[in-house]
Every structure is written in structure tokens, then in C-alpha cells.
Symmetry: C3
Subunit: 650 residues, 3 copies
């Protein structure tokens, strides 16, 4: 149970913005929230201009009163540091706080997240406002926890392409490499005479004439990630000091890639994330085919949502919160449909089953002003309970006990591999997420619970370890995986170990230090445009391969599947050495077949689930889910469209 949890089962919360409504609403809203079954309220997220309307002049009366209203109604309060929205007076006094976009333009005040994480002056104000807030409310009895900032990286803000970041980057490099020779060698700068003779010569990797050096990019991304992490750490340290006994979390964002989440999550008590299933599919999943986007328009796709749950649970390997849960339509995707009836309850139950201890709906009342007036809340603009609110009202929480997710399958995920993969996709139809999520979907389609974890973390509890796209490999990581392969089945996907820690290729060819474990060397890789495919044949079946096909020269492994046409005809496509399998071809069908075999070999029981039907297990229960618009039969039960049932675990 995460700190401060009031019940042994799932609890609910809501994001509220008392400063957005007249004061006469505060008591009434708090009482309604309580009556709806909510336990927590998250507030003050974007309220800097109300806390400090003028430099150094604080106004707390309104916030005192608002917290009091929640407390009186029996709600616990989660306070936010308001640093995602520095006020106009601060920006105009210090415009050097503003970030730059990739095109080299200043990103202006007028919305949110308009700051460069590397700005020393912004850091100073971030610490200051955090400190005064912690001083005032850190020990308030109603305040049970803190959210830092809001959605780091959202709107592509983890990185600033100029200004403070440009100034700080060379120093970060000098601290890392010590000498320019070391940097030039690590980056391979000899390639196009890109060698530096002075740290001050090094710029950010944008607005170049042509492609960027991936090593240059990789270090810039690491720099930006470190900068986000140290920003977070500063706030955490201040809050720890000023608010003992309260939890500290941050609400991470869907599929965000601007920083290494494992680093940035360090020091938190638990992780939160913001779950917007329909917007996730429509806006954040460019690789999903249009047909699926239409089929799942009103629910979002179960595996995309589950992937994010499992990803964020895995950051600290601990239960988490959904800090913002869609409860009606969003406003920021190209299309923003109404959720299907039942979707809000299904999302809530799914969140629980994947390890959420608390689900907090966004937001209480739909905003009547500014950017998000078309976004729904639990209340409509007219203060009637909206469709989502009605579903919350009738959700049965006691059936959903806290506890652990019994995953025996680990899926390895690493942000540095993602960065290297995506800077040189080589096949425009692929990306790190597209490849990784395909593996995840195959596992869930086989009925498996999955932990998404860092490749360098403890892997001892797993029977099957899947590394869909572990592009970056180091000797230490290779040794760690070799050890894991002693007790577990291990599956690697395409492009495994293509790159070293500095973003180069291994001097002895791919997969470098992993060659011994895989029992093979890379022969070739093939990038397939839409319409171009090749065929593989294995012991039992054959299928077509899209987008990517790589082949191997065997040095200990045996061939499971072989190409039977195309330029690699006759070469090995899927290989195995002992407990380690490598899948070199991209194909959903191939993946299901190989992974089903591996699951059986690992002593797990794959269960072929129909499209849109899913299982998730927690604390001795299995959540049976129907995400389709038809009634389905599952485990002897009839599940209505967009609904779920709980089954005691066998």
C-alpha cells in the first residue's frame, strides 16, 4: 500500500482547481466529491500567479480556505508545486527562462511549460516557490502528499534547443569526458571533420545542414534528461525537508520520451501517470493503423493503456497512482469522441488490475475558460453530473483489493535504446515504440501479465525475459543478461545490441558483446517499404514479414525460422541458443508463434485471447475485460460490450 492510503482497496480522487470557480462553490463541491466516494483531491497545480501575484508577495488566504473546505468534507489533499506555469512577471523579468524549439525559436509565454530546465534563474525560483509552499502547507494535517510540477516533457519541453540549455551543454560534456580527445573518439567526430578543439565550439544538434551525428544527439538527450532529473531532485529534497511523512510523486505523461524516466523517478515515493485512453490512441500513437483507431475510438486500445500502466509501475517496481484519469472526452486530439458507456469503469478497473492504488479523475468541473473548455470533467459546465461522473458513482471499489501484480514475464525497456533507434529508424514505418508495443501486444494477446523493467534491474523473478529493441548494449549489460539467461528464457527482437554506449556500432560488428550469448553474428538487415515483404518458414508454419528482416551467421545457435525468398533467402531469421532466442524479422504472426512456444518452455500457460479481450491479474484476482462493442464469452462468463468481471485467480 502506498503511503497514506486510507483503505485496503482501490481509492479514488479528483483533480480540482478551486481558483477556477467562485468561492461559493468550494464547500458544496467538496461535499459532492466526498459523496461520490472520492478520497483525495489534487489541487494548486497551475496556481503560481495566485500564490505569488507579484514578485515576493504571497497570497495564501484563498488556498488556506480551499484546503479547509476539502478537509471539512473529509477529503485528503495532494498539493502540487506550480512550476509548470511560471507567471508573466517572472518571465518578463527573466525572458532567458524561455525555452527554444527545434527550429531555434523562443517558445513564448501564453500557455504552459514555458521554461528551460537548465535555466539557473528559473531553478532558483522553482526552489523558492517550492520552499515557501512546503513551509506553509508541509505539515498541514489535510495535506498527505505532493505532486512535483506537471507532466515533465509534455509538449516536447524536456529539451530546449538554445538559450540556457545551449550554454550548459558544453560544461556537461566536459564533466563527462574530461578531454576533447575522449569526446571526439566517443562520437566518432573524425567522420565528417566534426572534431572539436574547444568545448565552446560544441552546439546543440539542431538546425544542421543534414543528418545529425547520433552520438551527439545521444549525449544531448542524456544532458537534457539529467537536467530534468536534477530539477526534480531539487524539489524533492525541499519537500522532504519541509513536509515530513508526506508522499512525493510526479505525474508522468503517456509515451513521453524526452528523458530517462528511471532516473527522474528516483527519489519519489511512488510514480503517477496521466491516463487519457482515447487521446493516447488518436494523438500519441502515430504508428497504430487507422482501422484500429476507428475500432477503439471510444475506449482507447487496451494494450496501449496497459503498456503505460506496466511501464510506470516498473519505474520503481511499486504500485502507482493514475493522477489524471480521463472521465469523458478530451479536447486535444484531432478527434475527441465520447467514451463508450462503461469505459470509465473499465479504465478504472484496468488501472487497478495493473497496480494502481488510486485513480484520480481529471477534472472535477469542466473548465469554463481558456484552453480546455472543450475538455470534460465529472461535472458539466452547468454543474450537473456528467456521464463519467455517473459511472464513478456506481463503481464498486471493495472488490478491488490492493496487492501485487504476479507477472512472470519481464519486458526490457531502455530510453537510451529508444533514442538511438528513433534517430535512425532506417524503415520509416518502424520506431522503438512501434516495435516494442508489438511485442507487448503479442504477450497480452497470449494472456500474460508483464512487468516492463529496465534491462539493468534485478531480473531474478522472471521466467521469461523479452527484450524487443535493446539497441544499446554494454559489457556490463551483456553480463547481466547472461546471468539472467541461466534461470529464465530470454527473447531478443531485431536491432538488439546494434550500438555501444556512445552510439557507435561495435568494432567487431553487431551484436558485439552479446555475440557469445546469442551464438550468432549479424549478417544483414533489410528495410521493407509498405508493399514489400519477405517470407519466413519455421518448423510448423510460415508467414510474411513486414518492415524489417535481419539475418544471422550462426556461431553456436541453431535456426528456428529461415527466409525462403528475397535477398536473404536461405538465411536464418529466428535463432536459438539454449534458453536464448533471437527474432530478427518483424511480424505479429511470427511473434505470437515464437512467444507462445517460449511461454510454454518457461512453464507459463499462454492463452490465446480474442481480439479486444484481455486478462489482467492482481492480488489473487483476474480481471476479465471486454473492450469490444460485442458481447463475448470468456472463462464461462458472458461479458457485455465494454465491461469487465472479476474472477478469483486459479
Amino acid at each position: 500500500m502506498t503511503p497514506s492510503l486510507p483503505a485496503p482497496h482501490l481509492t479514488l480522487a479528483v483533480c480540482d482547481y478551486p481558483e477556477h470557480v467562485p468561492r461559493d462553490r468550494w464547500t458544496r463541491y467538496a461535499e459532492q466529491q466526498k459523496a461520490l466516494g472520492l478520497s483525495f483531491v489534487r489541487i494548486a497545480e497551475f496556481a503560481w500567479s495566485r500564490m505569488e501575484p507579484r514578485p515576493g508577495e504571497y497570497e495564501w488566504a484563498w488556498l488556506d480556505e480551499a484546503i479547509e473546505a476539502y478537509a471539512d468534507a473529509g477529503l485528503k489533499v495532494v498539493l502540487c508545486t506550480p512550476t509548470a506555469t511560471p507567471p508573466a512577471w517572472l518571465i518578463r523579468a527573466h525572458p532567458e527562462i524561455l525555452p527554444y524549439d527545434r527550429e531555434g525559436r523562443i517558445r513564448e509565454f501564453g500557455s504552459r511549460r514555458h521554461y528551460d530546465f537548465a535555466s539557473p534563474i528559473f531553478r532558483e525560483h522553482s526552489r523558492r516557490i517550492t520552499r515557501v509552499l512546503a513551509e506553509r502547507y508541509g505539515q498541514h494535517p489535510a495535506v498527505v502528499g505532493w505532486q512535483t510540477d506537471n507532466e515533465f516533457g509534455c509538449h516536447d519541453t524536456a529539451r530546449s534547443y538554445g538559450g540556457a540549455s545551449a550554454a550548459a551543454f558544453p560544461g556537461w560534456l566536459e564533466a563527462k569526458y574530461g578531454t576533447l580527445d575522449a569526446l571526439n573518439e566517443a562520437w566518432g567526430n573524425v567522420f565528417w571533420s566534426m572534431e572539436y578543439g574547444d568545448w565552446a565550439q560544441i552546439r546543440l544538434p539542431n538546425l544542421l545542414v543534414t543528418e545529425v551525428n547520433p552520438s551527439h544527439l545521444l549525449d544531448f538527450y542524456r544532458f537534457a534528461s539529467d537536467t530534468v532529473a536534477s530539477f526534480q531532485a531539487e524539489q524533492v529534497a525541499i519537500l522532504r525537508l519541509g513536509s515530513p511523512g508526506r508522499f512525493i510523486t510526479h505525474n508522468f505523461m503517456i509515451f513521453e520520451t524526452g528523458f530517462d524516466h528511471y532516473d527522474v523517478a528516483k527519489g519519489l515515493d511512488f510514480v503517477s501517470w496521466d491516463n487519457y485512453p482515447t487521446g493516447m490512441l488518436e494523438f500519441f500513437s502515430s504508428w497504430m493503423p487507422d482501422e484500429i483507431k476507428t475500432d477503439y475510438a471510444r475506449t482507447g486500445h487496451p494494450d496501449l493503456i496497459a503498456f503505460n500502466h506496466d511501464l510506470y509501475r516498473g519505474l520503481l517496481k511499486r504500485p502507482f497512482w493514475v493522477m489524471e484519469q480521463q472521465c469523458g472526452q478530451v479536447n486535444w486530439a484531432p478527434f475527441n469522441p465520447l467514451p463508450a458507456p462503461g469505459a470509465v469503469q473499465l479504465w478504472t478497473a484496468q488501472a487497478w488490475a495493473h497496480g494502481a492504488d488510486t485513480v484520480s479523475y481529471f477534472r472535477w468541473r469542466a473548465a469554463t475558460m481558456a484552453q480546455e473548455v472543450m475538455h470534460s470533467g465529472l461535472l458539466r459546465h452547468d454543474e450537473t453530473l456528467d456521464r463519467g461522473g455517473l459511472e464513478v458513482e456506481s463503481q464498486d471499489l471493495t472488490a478491488m483489493p490492493l496487492g501485487s501484480v504476479p507477472a512472470r514475464v519481464a519486458l526490457l525497456h531502455d530510453y537510451e535504446s529508444l533514442w538511438l533507434y528513433d534517430v535512425q529508424k532506417h524503415a520509416a514505418s518502424l520506431s522503438y515504440w512501434a516495435q516494442t508495443v508489438t511485442y507487448y501486444r503479442a504477450l497480452r494477446g497470449l494472456g500474460q501479465d508483464v512487468d516492463i523493467v529496465h534491462p539493468d534491474s534485478d531480473l531474478s523473478g522472471y521466467a521469461l525475459i523479452v527484450a524487443p529493441a535493446l539497441t544499446l548494449m554494454t559489457p556490463e549489460r551483456a553480463a547481466h543478461l547472461e546471468a539472467a539467461a541461466q534461470h529464465a528464457r530470454v527473447v531478443f527482437g531485431p536491432r538488439s545490441a546494434y550500438r555501444t554506449v556512445s552510439g557507435r556500432t561495435p568494432e567487431d560488428g553487431q551484436p558485439g558483446v552479446l555475440a557469445e550469448l546469442l551464438g550468432a553474428k549479424l549478417l544483414n538487415f533489410d528495410s521493407l517499404r509498405p508493399g514489400l515483404s519477405v517470407r519466413v518458414e519455421g518448423p510448423d508454419h510460415a508467414c510474411d514479414v513486414q518492415s524489417w528482416a535481419e539475418s544471422y551467421r550462426l556461431t553456436g545457435a541453431e535456426t528456428l525460422y529461415r527466409y525462403v525468398d528475397g535477398p536473404q533467402s536461405g538465411e536464418a531469421a529466428v535463432i536459438r541458443k539454449g534458453s536464448v532466442t533471437v527474432i530478427g524479422a518483424h511480424s505479429e504472426e511470427l511473434l505470437r508463434a515464437v512467444l507462445a512456444g517460449e511461454l510454454r518452455a518457461a512453464g507459463l500457460s499462454p492463452e490465446q485471447l480474442p481480439e479486444g479481450v484481455r486478462l489482467s491479474r492482481r492480488a489473487g484476482h483476474t480481471l476479465l475485460q471486454n473492450w469490444t462493442s460485442q458481447t463475448v464469452n470468456l472463462h464461462g462468463r458472458e461479458l457485455a460490450p465494454v465491461s469487465f468481471a472479476l474472477e478469483a485467480q486459479a
Copy 2:
């Protein structure tokens, strides 16, 4: 009859540029123009560098001579202020005249419209050149009227995102709001700590990190619109003084949305607009499906053209001119097909039937230099009469008497509603024009003449009032519409009254102050991606709904159509209270059915017209039009492809 009209029927004109051709052509061209049946010639539109080749040095001899040549041939002259093309010497002396684009870049000299309407220095020069021009030619007997500038807003030039506009915007806001508290409240700036503490903190709403506050945008658009209006008013005042008895007009542009045309038209004697039917369809109508673009490639779409005619007739509720009429192919669309044989005559007749007193062809001879060499004229480059010229030669003008358009249907249109709609479309397939034109097309497909008018204007003469997308609602406007509903049928489309005058939503929910009139409150709205639809059922028929579906809680209205599937199943989709109907679902089929009923209820006679066949009435005559490539039968007549016939009105 607009001022200076020489005949009781349609007259013709041409846009000519004597400065583009050798002087030996002037007399010959003028005589040819007269012989072709033209009455007016519009000149000097872009001739600033010839009027004033160096600062303060004017050269009039050439213009004197050119006007003389037209006068000698019996043509009347419409002169233009040349302010759309400030010369190089002015721009280099005062580069601060140049406008900025949305990306924050200066828009350079080298084409046209390179000025910021808010530039005080440009204003001074605009007044000066207008004054000297009026002084010299204001009372010339051949000069019968004036066109100000050219196509305000064309090439997205109504707004400048920097420089002079950025400097002027805060002052405009201060004059409007008086206090920052009032502005912060109106804009809802508390939302993301966007509150201002100093007028100078306020920037233009571009280059933000993420979405713009729609209230910020709305006021910037109003500011820009006011600035265009005051620019126009300055020229009009100078011309009134210096050129008594002459008319003043401006040639507005197709579907232009950069300013409030009702404001900018004030003070003109009559409105003109520039009618390019094929370019309008290919370039300006992104929402029209590709199939229609191909079917009507050689004629343009009748309803798009008619919409613009009716829109511009409605600005001053007065007959108008087509100041530039396509008479061959244009050069600025992705594809620029030759018009179908008969198209030039059909366009001319249609313009007349929708209230044009004069049609002026663009241009006399195809240009042999610069940006528009691929644009046709009445003469080819080789000075032979082109296809369009031949059609003009044989057009029968006497059959087209001047007089009024007998519309009993009003379609309400409001630029502020358009701006609010389009900044938050919520469904990428829709826009204000897309929704509004769909209603207009339905009405024309039912054989109706339509006035497009401002919602706050006199509505007393109409039997049916249609408000397709009246997003912005005020108490005054609501009262005005309530009064109108006493004597007329009124139909509202989706998103009616979603926003208040400051761009927020009503605090009591949509439709705010209109709730009493509609007898309903908004329940939900649903945004449908392509492939996703819902179904509605009414008394007589059922149909599918695309893109948008909203539902209502009834407080006095009754249900006409109801959703029968989807998340709003069972809820009201089309409702009626007395004379007022609300259509919440977007569907051409639904629209035709409901509007046909409303027309009958209003005592009008809907006539179901085949695809591409249209009726337009003026001055006791009905123009029967066939826009298709097949012969059609209509009212007992046979109409050849792309042709028209005149029928005495029943």
C-alpha cells in the same frame, strides 16, 4: 442601381494595367474594350512605383494619358489606391512597415501586401498617396469611382505577428478593458497562471509552447480586424473629401476570414469581391471532397460561388460588383484547368442573379511578366481574343435587369463565431465554413434564395432564419433572435451559443442565454473521426451522422430526432420549441429533411433540385442553371451542359 451605373441592366468592366504594356497599345486596347461591350475599366491597382518612383516625386503624365485613352473610347474609369504594393524605396527607408508571419519571421519585399496595417509610418504614407491621388484625379470627369487597396487579408496578411502589431496590441487591450483585472477575468487567465500584471507583458498569441487561450486569440483577431477597418476608414475619408460624387468600394476576397467584413465594409458605397470559381474550389475549399473538386474542376462549385455572392451582398444589404471575374484559367491553385465552354457566361449570369450590378473581368491582356504570366486574360499574350473574351463578346446583357434578390431565407453569419469555432475545432474534419456552407448548400439544393446576414442585423423580412454555427452568443443577440422567432421560423445548427462574448463558456452551461428560446440545455457533444458514425431516427426517416453529434436535456422543447446507437443512444438530436428548431447532428441528409420541413412550415416552397442544377432569382426573373456536363431538363426547358436560361418569375 449602384452609383454611376450607365444602364438599367448588368454592365461589364475589365481590370487593366496600362503600365504593363507599351504606350502604343493604349488607344487600341481601349477601343477594343469598348467594342467588346465593356463600360468600365479598373486601373492603377499596383502602380505606386510608377506614380511615385522616388520619395515625394510624383509622375502623372503616364496616368493622365492612360485615363485619356479610356475616356476617349467612352469608358469610365475606376481608380485604385495603390497601397497594396508599397515601393522598395519606402520599405527600405522604413523596414518596420514589413509584417511578420505566424512563425515570427519578417515577410519581405518582393511580391505584394508586404505591410503591417498597424504601422504608423505606413499609415502616414497610405494617407499621403491617397490624398495626392484624390487631389489629382478626384474630380476627373472620366473617373467614376474608387477601389481602396486590393484584397485586404489575401495571403494571410490581415494579421501581423510581430513588429507594429505587437507594439499596438497592449494599448488596444487597455483601451478596451481599462483594468488588467477585467482582462484577466475576461480571458480566464487564472487557468494556467496566465494572469498579467502589466499591459506590457502581453504578447501576440503565436509561438506558444502549446494551445493558445482562445480568448487571447479572439481579442487579437478583433484588434487586427479593427486595424484593417481603421486603415480603410482613413482612405475612405480622404477620398470622400477629394472626390465628391464618386463611389468608393473595396474588392474583398473569397472566404477571407482575417477581419470582420461587416466592420470593414462600413462607409463604402457598395461592396465588391473577386470571383475566381475554379481557384476557389481547388485552393480555398479544403473541406470539399476530392471527388467534387474533380467533377466541378472546370466550372467551380455553384454553391461556393453563390455563397460568396450572397455573403458580400449581405455586408451592406445592397447590390455589389464583382471587381475581378475569372475569364480563363488562374495560375495560383495546385491545378488550374481551362474553364468549360460556357462557364464565363454562366458565372456572369449567376453573378447578376445574385445581385451584381457590374462584373469586371480580370484581366484585359494576360501579363507577359512576373508572378502571373500563367494567368489568362480576355486577350492572350499574343493579343488575340481568348476563349473567355469570345464568351464576353456574345453575352446578352439586356436580359439581366437590375433589381433586388427576393430572398425569404436568412442565413446568419458572424466572424467572431468563426474565429472561436476554428481555434478549437474539436473534430478535425469540421470548420466554421465547412459547417456553414453545408447548411447553405442544403438550402440551395431546395431551390431557395438566401441572404447571408449578420445575426445582429434587421431580420424582420425573413420567413426562415438559419443559424448554422452561431458559436458566440450575448444577451442582446439572444433577445434579438427571440424577437425574430416571433415572426419567423428559426433553425440553429451544432455548437450554437457555446461561447460568451469573451470566448469563455457560459457559467450555467451551453447554450447559456439561449436556453429559454431553445427550450433545452446541452447534454454532450461527440466528435467523430472518419469511419465512426452514429445514427439518428426521426418521425419519417433515419440517417447516419458524421463528424459531430450533440444531445440535449429538454426544458420545454420536444424531440424530433433521437440517437439510436452510440453513447448518446436515446438522447435528443434534433429538437423543436415552437418556431425554433435545433439540429445537433451533422448530416447533409438530415439537414435537407429538416430544412425542407421548415421551409414548408415557413410558407415557402422547397423544390428538390438535381445535383448541379440551381435556381437564382432577381428582379422578377429566375435564372435556371445547369452546372453539369450533361444536358438536363428543368421547368420544361432543356439546358445544355454548363448553360443557363432566364424564366419570368411566377
Copy 3:
């Protein structure tokens, strides 16, 4: 035989980068290269930072040693001037060297080609590094030739839109026109008051409010082209002086259009170009339909490759080198498939048959660092011989003797016509390359060898001269073509002679000075969107026309094909006067029919070749090529998929 050729048949080479690998590899690699049958190695292309690590401090030891290793193995060395990659110290000392993109942004250091050709300071350093290099290695016995810079214009670098180019452009104009009156008249600046009163008022033609004046653009493109040419000439002069008896070449890039290649090739001993067949189709041929891109994904399209061979052979009308030949997959297209088995041999044989004396593979070992790690080489990263290397090993060179290409057909090509065509395409589906390559493909589909030559060059040897898109016409050019038509058949395509030398249209209409030769004047041109077509009918057959249709008024010519529908129904579409034919309609089918007739009339023998089957002739041999994935029969032989055969010429 080009200078220094060691054999009477095709020889092979490789691009190598000794500075990219440890020194212990140098001798081994050189010996392997020699053993593989290679004769030359091209080196030092991007090695400026290794030659001159700090300003004025040269380091030659490594290069001495590398050259020695090649020489010892019996390889000849081609040295490059390293000017495509100015080092960081130079850029930071003189940031004014950096070029600007079309959006007005500085293009930064961090990849390559980051210089403005017009920069005087960069010119100085370019001359200096060229001079010291020539001094040191100009008479080295192993050094047989030079490559200047690398791929001028690649990554859109021929033109810089600011900085040094902006400063130099007015002076170039003044030198050309002498007076502003002359410039204003030539550009037609009166059109939109664009007249200049001072040379300093003239800017580059980017970031305008709307369309650019094509005359302004044309002169800017000429200026940029002249600047590239003078940059090249400076290096050539220095190398001539310092390295007597060695050849000088430059490796031009696929379909590059940033400068006039005829000008820039002057002074070279022979031309080279860089042949990447799969990337050429996927990345550089936007006009090719997707289906063809898929069908030829693994070989590239034979006619696109052949077009470039013939184009570059025609620059100096002399055999050429392929300086970089793809020998595996590339890394810079959206998709980068493995070449089909046999493709590397087929490409090599095709290059020979089109006039290549040497084919140099890119590159020896796949790079283990930086931008191109996903690009293949003859060796894999792990130093095993890759698929392409194996094909090189078994290629039979003795069967491919040097000698001339016996083309009797000339296709006229002119960069100024290209620039004018593409700035005003008028039909978005067309472009100069799209139209020109369509004619070329038709000719190759009829079995013809083709010389691509400049319209003003000697045309005396040809039986058929085809001018697919000769937009720009001058009196001198017209006279030259009239003379050619005395002895040869001549075919013109659409848009012939639409423009004068200054980019205006002829004052007497199109085709201006060509009217007498064609026996016709232009009537109209029609731009057809996809889905819109018209039909033409000739003596023998009829067919549909896409994208473009123009018609003529005859003044001596007769009609071959006539439009039978659409607005030009009844008008002439294809005409002939004596030996001169004009094809006004764009249609592959029409083209094949007309060109087959013209070939027969010219005494040549068209041979209808199946899709993907091609013939190329050189030095008494015919290369029979099968580019398809099926076995085909040709001239009594059976050709396996992706293969060729040599036939003695009849």
C-alpha cells in the same frame, strides 16, 4: 580512355577512409582491395580536421602513411579536396561562412556542406587547403587524380538564403545589367510596383508574402550557379598548377538542380557522379508512383539510373566515372532495402554500357561511427566481405571494353528551363524532371540509346532530337534548332519556348521566336488534376491525356492528333511541320506512339521492350538487361531475374 586508365576495359575502385579505422588495418585493407580486383582508391574526402587540426598546423604523417599503404599494394590514389567539411575551428572563427536555409535560418556546424559558396573568407580557406594539399601530394607517383569537394548542392546547399550570398547578389546583378532600368525591365518589376531604385534594395527571393517573381528567382539561381562554378574553377586552377598530369573531376549528385552542371563541369577532365539506385528511386524521385517504387525497390528503376548516366556523360560529351556506387543498402531514404542478388553486378554493367570507364564503390568498410553507421560497404562492420563485395569479386571486367556510346538520339536538357518550369508548375503533378524523364523512358522503352545534351551544343550527329521541356528560348537557340532540323527529326514537348531569357513570356505569345519552326502559335494550355483527363485522337489510335494539354493555332503545321473532348475539343494536340513535331499533351501512351513513328522516320529501329527489360550499347556490344524478378527471354537468350548478358552489336 580517361586519363590514367590502367586497362582497356572497365576498371573498379573504392571510396576509403583510412582515418576512420585503426592504422593496423591500412595495409591489410589495401591488399584486400587489390585482391578484389580494384584499381583505384578515393580518399581524404572529409579529412580536413585531420589534415589541419588547428589553424595553420598541418599533419601529413597519417596521410603519407595511408597513401604509401595503397601504393605498396599496387593501388592508384584519387585525392579529394576536403572542402565539403570545414572544421569547427574555422567555423567558430568565421561563423559568417555558414549558409542560410530558405526559412532564413543559419545552417549550423555538425554535419557537412555547412558553407556558403559566396563567402570570401571561406573561398580564401578553400584555396589555401587546396594549395597545400596540391603542394604536398600533387606529384606523388601514386596520386593519379583529384576530386574537388564532394557532391556540390547536396542537401540543398547550392544556394544560401542570407549572409554572404545576400551580400553578393546585388553586385552580381549590377555587373550583369549595368542599370536598374535594365533590371526592372528584364524582371517586369512594374508588375506589382517591385521596381528598384538602388542596387542595395534587392534581397534574395525568399520569405516573401506570396509568390516570387520568376525572373527574380531565375537570376538568383544563375547567381548561385555562377558562384558554385567559380568556386570549382578556383580549385581546378590550383590543382592544375600543383599537380600536372593528374586528372581533375567532381562527383555530381543524382538529379541535383541547384546549379547549371554544364557550367560547373567546364575545366574538368571528366565528370563523375554518385550512383545510389535504391535511394534515387525512394528519395529523389517524388514523382514516381508508389507501385513502381515497390516493384523496383531492390534494384532502383533502370531508366532513372540510365538517365543520370546519360546526363553526366553529356556534360562534357565524354566517358565518365561513377565515383560512388551503391554496393549494399543506403541509410538515407525513408526505406533502405537490401539490393536484389545480382543488382550490384547489373548496376556496374549498366554503368559501363552508358559510358563509365571506372566504377568506384562506396565504401570499403561500413562506418562504425556517426551519421552513416547504417550504410553498407564492401566489408561489413565485422570486416567480413558483404553481399556486394562478393558480387564485385566475381564481376567479369574484360568483357566490358571502353569506347563510345553510339547514340543517334539526343534529348535536350537545360537547367534554366528546369528552374523556370518548376517555379510555376501550374499542375502540381508535373515538374521538369517528371516530364523530361517520361520522354526518356519512352525512348528507352523503344530500345534507344540516348545522349542527354545541352540545347546549344553541337547537334550534328543525331538523327532524332527530342526537347521534352525546353521552356526557355532565345533567338540564338531557335536558330540553332532550325539548323538542326535541316538534318534531323526534332520533337518538342509541352511548354516549349514559353519563356524568354529573362523569364518573361514572349511579347508576341508562345512559342515566340520558335513559331516559324513549329508552324504554329499556342492557343491554350490546360492543367488537369488527378481524375480529370481529356482524349486525343490521331490517325491510328486514341488515348487519354493526364496533367497537361495544350493546343495550337496552325500557321504552317498540320495536325496529327486532335482533342476530341474537353474545352479544347477539335483543336490540335500534336502537330508537325516538315521534320518538326510538337506534342502538346502529356501521355505516356501518346508519347510512345509518336516517338516510335519519329524513330522510324529518322531511320532508326524502335524495338518495343517489355517492362523492366532494357538495352544499352557501347563499343560494339549490346548489354541486355533484365531488371525484373522474373526470367525473361530477349534476343533469343534467357535472362535470369536481375541479370544481364552481352551481345555483339549487329
